[in-house]
C-alpha cells in the first residue's frame, strides 16, 4: 500500500479509467470499506455510461447540409452547392454478378446512395476504432462468451472470424443498435494495419444476396455483402481498397467454409 491518501481526483480518475493498475487497486480497496463513497462512484459510473450511450445516436445522424456547407471553404462553395452532405457521398463501386469474388472489378455504375448497413458500419467504425480504453465490450480473451452473448442477442449464430492469416488479431466485440434491432461489431487490429471492424447484422430490410460491394464513407472504406440473411461490412480507415478486399475475402471464406 502506498502512503498517498485517496483524493476526490482519484475517484474521478477511477470513473474515467485513468488510474494505473496499482493505484486502482488501492482506490477500490478504499471504496470497499466505504459503502457511501462506493455508491457515489457507482452513480458517477452509471451516469458516464448513460451519457455516452444516449448521445452516441447523434454521431449516427446524417450531417445536415447546412453544416456540411459551413465546413467548406468559401471559394468552393458555389460549385458544389448541390452536392449532397458528406455522409451520403458514398462512392459505391459494386462488383457485378454472382460470387466470383476474385473477379472483382468496379464495373457497376456508382449508386447514388449506399445502404444503411454501410453507413451504420462506417459510423460504428469511426466511433469505436479510435477508442483507446474501451474499444470493445467483451475482449478476445472471452471469445466463447462473446460469441454466445452476441448470438443470443442477435437471435442467430454469430461468431468472430479469425483473421490471423491476414495479419489481424481479434480485439473483441460489442453489441450495437442497428436499423431493425441489435447488431454485432467485431474489432481486429495489427500494429501495421491499424484497426479493422467487422459489422454483422441479421434480418435486414434487404435480404437479396449480393457480391462484394465497395463504398467510402468519409475517411472510412467499407466492403459489404449480404449472404444467407446476414449483412456483413468490413471497415477500415487505414487500409487501401486492395488490402481491405483481401480481408473481406478472408472473412467470407471463414464464414462460408
Amino acid at each position: 500500500m502506498s502512503e498517498l491518501p485517496i483524493t476526490e481526483a482519484d475517484l474521478h480518475a477511477l470513473v474515467d479509467g485513468y488510474l494505473p493498475e496499482g493505484r486502482r487497486t488501492e482506490v477500490e480497496a478504499y471504496l470497499a470499506e466505504r459503502p457511501e463513497e462506493a455508491s457515489r462512484v457507482a452513480a458517477y459510473r452509471a451516469h458516464r455510461a448513460q451519457m455516452r450511450d444516449h448521445y452516441a445516436a447523434v454521431l449516427a445522424e446524417p450531417v445536415p447540409e447546412r453544416l456540411a456547407q459551413a465546413a467548406r471553404p468559401r471559394a468552393r462553395l458555389r460549385g458544389v452547392a448541390a452536392a449532397c452532405a458528406w455522409l451520403s457521398v458514398g462512392i459505391v463501386l459494386g462488383a457485378a454478378g454472382g460470387w466470383q469474388l476474385h473477379a472483382w472489378r468496379p464495373s457497376v455504375p456508382p449508386q447514388a446512395e449506399s445502404p444503411a448497413l454501410v453507413k451504420r458500419a462506417a459510423v460504428a467504425h469511426a466511433v469505436y476504432a479510435p477508442e483507446v480504453r474501451h474499444p470493445v465490450e467483451v475482449g478476445a480473451d472471452q471469445e466463447a462468451h462473446l460469441a454466445a452473448w452476441l448470438s443470443k442477442r442477435l437471435g442467430a449464430q454469430v461468431r468472430p472470424a479469425h483473421l490471423d492469416a491476414v495479419g489481424l488479431s481479434l480485439v473483441g466485440g460489442r453489441l450495437l443498435p442497428g436499423d431493425t434491432g441489435p447488431v454485432a461489431q467485431f474489432m481486429y487490429e495489427s500494429p501495421q494495419r491499424g484497426r479493422v471492424t467487422l459489422y454483422v447484422r441479421v434480418r435486414g430490410p434487404d435480404q437479396r444476396e449480393t457480391a462484394f460491394r465497395y463504398s467510402q464513407e468519409g475517411s472510412v472504406r467499407v466492403f459489404y455483402w449480404i449472404d444467407r440473411g446476414f449483412g456483413y461490412a468490413v471497415s477500415s480507415a487505414d487500409l487501401g481498397k486492395d488490402d481491405l478486399l483481401k480481408i473481406a475475402n478472408a472473412v467470407y471464406a471463414q464464414l462460408n467454409p
Partner: protein, 166 residues
Amino acid sequence: MKDTAQVVEFIPRLRRYARALVGERTAADDLVQDTLERALNKFHLWKRGTDLRAWLFTVMHNVHVNQIRGRRELVALDEEALEVPVRATHEVALEARDLERALMRLPAEQREVLLLVVLEDMSYEEAAATLGIPIGTVMSRLSRAREKLRMLVEGLPGSGRLQVIK
C-alpha cells in the same frame, strides 16, 4: 488535400457535444454552424501539427460563451423553468429525458468539462487546454458537475429542486 477538409470529419463529434451542451437540436446545430464558420474564417490561427479536434472544441467553447453572454437573462429564466421530476427511490439509472434535463440544470461551465471528459474522452489536461483553464479548475468543476447530477437524479437536498417549486 487542404487541411480545412479535415474539419468535416469532426462535424459528427461537434454535433454530439453541442447537443448535450445546448439541449435542443436546432440550437445545437446553430452552434455547430457558427463554430464551423468561425473555424474556417480563423483557420490560419490553427497551428498545423497540433490537435485539430481540441482546437475546434476551443472555437466552439468561445462561440458558446459569446452566445450565453448575449442572452444571459434568457438562460437564467430557462434554468428556473426546468424542473426535474421527483424520484421516489434513489435510483442510479436515469431516464433519457431526465438525463438531458439534469444535464441542462448544471452551470454551463461545469457541463462543458463533464462533456469533454465523458463524451470526447479528453484527458483532464486536454480539457484544461481546450477550455483555457487550469487543471485544478477542471477537477473541481468535474467534481461539482457529477455531484450535482447525482443529487438531481436522486432527489437529494442541494439539488435546487426545492427552490424551484414555489
